[in-house]
């Protein structure tokens, strides 16, 4: 029994280590002590010990998730990273660096130039997005982050303003789409890079450009829906409420996030053979 208690306590301590550092430093010891007290109480009654452990671990895990979500939604990370234009530029470069490395690896067997323009375009797009986000992040600093009703802060927040959420999601989706669009329009460096021979102009303007625009707008809709559906969840969490107060919104957000995650995972799996150098991969 003593061994069991030690094992559970160690596991709980491990779980607590997933809290954000500041939270852990401030309240970790108290939480551990409280868990021990609850354990002792349950051990004395000698019933529902397993249920108690399961419930406490799940409840604490949800608390960890909530604290991280709050940390992100309060903009601490974004405020730090997007503080200056210089750091924005650097971060955006670091974001595209893995793709550049992949490109170098993929092209190691071909005698082609490194597509510097493509990556410059990617970097410019990301930088433009961060420039759009910068005033929003700065605006958030004036917000009210009380544990009570956060309504006064709503005007300044990305996640609580449907208009800005919709705008940002469209920009986020359209910005990376500029490259294929330029490619469709016959911009030569990209054309050479992505498609080989120049396709017929009629086909490009009649079919590819409109279909790409429609496709991009269609993708931006679920992103906007996800951000708008996430608004009340963020507000409730910021107010110290439960994650499950808005179950429908939660389902929408989880569904959209998992769809995008699955899409991203599929893309990585699909491209992985090329990355590891499988011949004739596509």
């Amino acid at each position: 029994m003593l061994y069991e208690q030690d094992a559970v306590r160690t596991l709980y301590k491990k779980l607590l280590s997933f809290y954000p550092r500041s939270f852990q430093e401030q309240l970790g010891e108290s939480m551990e002590q409280t868990f021990q007290d609850l354990w002792n109480e349950k051990r004395q009654t000698k019933k529902g010990l397993f249920g108690f452990v399961l419930w406490t671990f799940i409840e604490t895990a949800m608390g960890i998730f909530r604290e991280h979500l709050l940390l992100i939604s309060l903009g601490d990370i974004m405020q730090a990273t997007l503080k200056t234009l210089g750091s924005s530029a650097l971060i955006n470069f670091l974001l595209i660096l893995p793709f550049m490395m992949m490109e170098v690896v993929n092209r190691r067997n071909f005698n082609e130039d490194f597509p510097i323009l493509l990556f410059f375009g990617m970097w410019i797009n990301l930088f433009a997005i961060s420039l759009i986000l910068l005033p929003i992040v700065r605006g958030r600093r004036t917000g009210n982050h009380d544990m009570a009703n956060p309504v006064p802060a709503q005007e300044n927040t990305l996640l609580t303003n449907p208009k800005s959420a919709a705008m940002i999601s469209v920009v986020l989706i359209l910005a990376p789409g500029i490259l294929p669009l330029l490619d469709s329009l016959g911009w030569e460096p990209l054309e050479r890079l992505l498609n080989g021979p120049n396709p017929e102009q009629l086909y490009v303007f009649g079919v590819r450009v409109p279909s790409q625009f429609i496709a991009l707008l269609l993708i931006s809709l679920p992103v906007a829906a996800g951000i708008i559906a996430g608004r009340p969840i963020v507000s409730t969490l910021r107010a110290g409420g439960s994650l499950f107060v808005h179950p429908i919104n939660l389902i929408i957000v989880v569904f959209i996030l998992s769809t995008f995650a699955i899409g991203l995972a599929n893309l990585i799996i699909d491209q992985w053979p090329c990355f590891i150098g499988v011949p004739n991969c596509d």
């Binding site: 939480m31 608390g63 110290g240």
Partner: protein, 120 residues
Amino acid sequence: MTTTNSTPPLTPAVLHILLALSSGERHGYGIMKQVETDSQGKVAMGPGTLYGSLKRMLDAGLVKESDKRVDPEMDDERRIYYQITGVGAQALAAELERYQRIVTIAQQRKLYPKTFAYVV
């Protein structure tokens, strides 16, 4: 005690914690037990919810950490105690006043306690 109308509404978790601390300093487990007693067993607050709320309450100055000491009713482990602050007491009073006004309105509209008669 003075109350302010500008104080925004509190969440149920924060209200319960403030209510539990209004009768004296308590450690985490003590707060949980008091909340359970105050709500007649209807509110079971887990450590994640309790400490998540406590973190925001500490940041907002509604509660503060007290000294670390042994609870004579429990074992010889030293525990961190939490106590309500002046701001916390004001927020609690304002919230209770708000509840009081709601109950008064409900009584004026004959919704309370007659509502329960309709259930029968």
